[in-house]
Point group: C2
Amino acid sequence: MDSDPTRNRAPSIRDVARLAGVSHQTVSRVLNNSTSLREETKQRVQQVMDELQYRPNRAARMLVTSRSRTIGVISASGYQYGPASSITAIEQAARAEGYFVNTVNLDGSDRESIEKALNHLLDQAIEGLVVIAPQVRVFNAFTEMKLSVPFVTLQSTGTSDHALSVDQIAGARLATRHLIELGHRNIYHLAGPQDWIEAEARMHGFLTEMSENDVATTAPILGDWTAEFGYFAGRELLRVRDFTAIFSSNDQMALGLIHAVRDAGLDVPGDVSIIGFDDIPEARHFWPPLTTVRQDFAELGRRAIALLLSGGVSAGDHAAPELIVPELIVRGSTRAVSR
Amino acid sequence: MDSDPTRNRAPSIRDVARLAGVSHQTVSRVLNNSTSLREETKQRVQQVMDELQYRPNRAARMLVTSRSRTIGVISASGYQYGPASSITAIEQAARAEGYFVNTVNLDGSDRESIEKALNHLLDQAIEGLVVIAPQVRVFNAFTEMKLSVPFVTLQSTGTSDHALSVDQIAGARLATRHLIELGHRNIYHLAGPQDWIEAEARMHGFLTEMSENDVATTAPILGDWTAEFGYFAGRELLRVRDFTAIFSSNDQMALGLIHAVRDAGLDVPGDVSIIGFDDIPEARHFWPPLTTVRQDFAELGRRAIALLLSGGVSAGDHAAPELIVPELIVRGSTRAVSR
DNA sequence: ACGGTGCATGTGAACGGTCACATTGGGCTT
DNA sequence: AAGCCCAATGTGACCGTTCACATGCACCGT
């Protein structure tokens, strides 16, 4: 007869208990390595667990403790270098603390897809949330939403206590100052999309640094982060050619810019200096190797988990966390202006 | 008195039942939209749910159905373009089917970190597993492991019924044939790490195509996928300069190669033709725009979920799934050999 | 010898859903 | 009008863990 009820079921705490000759509660104690357990008992139980290949049922545990040990991540464009690095770091940091990570990728930046994503995670009973979706709209959506779980926003300006971020303004100023110090006075800024917090911050840093040094500025060009856009923007810009340097808001657009300059028969950095932002791994092998501003995405991810697990971010009465300092990486795509 | 027991607890199915004046089972039926429910009852229950902002408790459901609706993803180097794209696609496809995705990043390729990652996911009671870790060692580890959950391996050679993959051999032959057709006869192959399935497959494709066209080959150089390595390998190679073309096993190394060729004062493609593999988004804006072989990582991810959810991959008695066909993208980094 | 103390362990009831089965009542057949 | 069926709903058990509390027992001081 194959009606043995234990046949198909995974072994439970009671199965272990029976075989070890103890109560189920004792097994539970071993599981949670409680104190006040005789070493001998512990070992016996442990041994039975190994034999049975026992695995605690997470659902049951979750049900009774009402803790999921799961952290949700909502990410836009998770396939890009920056977010992807942060996600990797988040996962590793979370796992080290025994947490699970559940990532959801946003389809769009509209309210509906945000809510769909969020609901998906809340269904999962997440205990914390990391938002890597630095569009202004998304950011506002989250701050307005009165979330019941602690959350942290990545890659924003750091004006909120929920926001963890690299100091974009400082980074942009670093880049801009570098160009100014090289003698450039006609500098364009190829910015990111208007509704991205980072793009805005970098633009702000650019404009501030320019005006503090009394350099006249032209209106920044709003791009979409892609090399493709950089290329076409570059072509457009070169029709006038009233500049000697461009500060691109990210490395991909800088790559497109270089491409356009080359297409026009000009040289980087001979005719035009170009500086990027991010320092993606490929940047140092662009031709010429790209001068850029490095931000530590992984550190960002680690800090997000640390902040979340320290449990401080739900109430909303904390000081804004420290900004991560970006670093200027000078390579071959910038040069002193020729007169 | 704040001893109201319902105060801090999330509303349960019974709370809803009480307020709607039905039994808890009826609420459950609404939840699973069972047939044989009066429309009126259904609506009433639904309304109470909305008022209470009721959310079914996933743990409880999981416990009784013993289904987690979670799919695990194990990934090496999840921050790179290929894997990251696949992961994004996997998540979206899975979510569309109501599944959750849990990603774990491998710290190393040793047995221990594999088992740690796997255990982490099994603790989570995953119903399926996608492995994006195309090292031979990792692949073998999984096939040997006698996993109890259905699983799919991505980016492998497709020799197993668990393996879903782009046809790496065909892709490599495409690249190689392109160079041969351009008249190149002295072609180097900069391969990926020896223990990567894809690297091996591409190398195999290269060698096959070369020998079928009676072109003499030199031993492939084993790289590590980074632009950095491509750069140094290129420098080394250029000390002899007995070649006119290089087939690089990925785009990053190709980028490093171009860098090295330029450093040596030579031109791509004038002096050396270079072809890559992957078609990362930046490739078309390299200088020169990179000729490469495109593989559709997102499609790979979607198929993985489709395969997993069709439930066919646990038994092991199925035909190997179809390979995805890669595509040659000709841009500016290759040119007919000059005589 | 006795009650108190504290450690090691056991007992039964939650947790919040679903499952299998029981119950109700209205409409149809005969 | 009796009997039957089926649709709509209710009842109680169960999933595998932890929690709160109970029990047994050795050891201690007096």
